[in-house]
Subunit: 197 residues, 2 copies
């Protein structure tokens, strides 16, 4: 079965749109999805930005909220912009690395994005993350301990460096097995079609 | 008949994609298109950029070329990135203001974009613009004179200030009569559907 990698940061608004639909779309296309959580912060920093482009440029930020609002409505999804924006996604990303290693990254990813952008919850909160983890049948204390190890922190740093090495400059990004890169939720269909060529 | 405004700069690669398809798509949707040439330079300057975001960020620039190359191939269009990039679009924009006032802005717009991105021609060249103008049945000397008047230069400046006042931050941008803003060739279908609501 062909595969695509789905690269995302939990603070990324357009990645929310993708996370809520990539499972069924990829299944229908016969494509496997490899979830690749990473951090956009260092990527933006290398571009000379100290925050999200949507925070750096408020006009673009307001447009983003309107654009995603329209798309979310069409897809039957709730959507709000977290305040402050962007959300602090480091803790969620570290837990995601554990979930990835243990094989429950897909439901964890959907649950975190839904809590943040539909449920208006603070994904930097230990309580919120703990509730998500226990809702998926895992022990929050065990996961938070595993997320905080030196090895896991290094794994997330390596992942983010790998993103930069692959010329990933934003999220969501899709990478096919032959190295074709697609940026943005609106390129998901193209990426799946490419994977199936 | 509902109407959308199509705001573009001749240097904008994604505006090329739109210019080559908005006519038939809008006709099929029963929507009238108002062509609104403007200059992105002052808009980018207000964002703290001294050039196109694709020139300021070469990784994003390489992605843009690949992304548009894929889409152009799927649509049967030629595409190359002008060198130097972005092209100098001031002369073409001034002529476009004249074409708009005289009612031949649609074929002029398509011809300039096609010359630049398919024909590999320099749209800053008086010869190239003259050939486009005469190919549409107009006198190049008359048009170039009309384009260079103080009034016409001011009209283009006013147009660009109007873009900024409408929170336009990139191109192509589509504006519906009720003030809804859509950014990017990939939002054209949404804009047409909105205009028809």
């Amino acid at each position: 079965m062909p595969q695509i990698e789905f690269w995302y940061d939990f603070a990324s608004t357009y990645s929310y749109l993708t996370a809520m639909r990539i499972g069924p779309l990829a299944e229908a296309a016969g494509v496997q999805v490899a979830y690749r959580p990473f951090l956009l912060g260092p990527i933006f920093k290398a571009q000379g930005l100290t925050t999200s482009p949507f925070a750096a440029n408020p006009i673009k930020g307001r447009y983003m909220a309107r654009d995603i609002g329209r798309i979310a409505t069409a897809r039957g999804l709730l959507f709000h912009v977290p305040a402050p924006f962007p959300a602090h996604s480091l803790a969620a990303a570290r837990s995601a690395m554990v979930a990835e290693a243990e094989g429950w990254i897909e439901p964890f990813t959907r649950a975190v994005f839904a809590a943040e952008f539909a449920g208006r919850e603070d994904i930097a909160s230990t309580d919120v993350l703990g509730r998500i983890v226990s809702g998926l049948g895992h022990d929050p204390v065990r996961i938070s301990t595993a997320a905080g190890t030196t090895e896991n922190k290094a794994a997330l740093r390596d992942r983010t460096e790998a993103a930069a090495a692959k010329d990933i400059f934003g999220a969501p990004t899709f990478l096919t097995e032959d190295g074709e890169l697609f940026w943005g939720d609106d390129r998901l269909e193209q990426a799946l079609a490419w994977a199936n060529k």
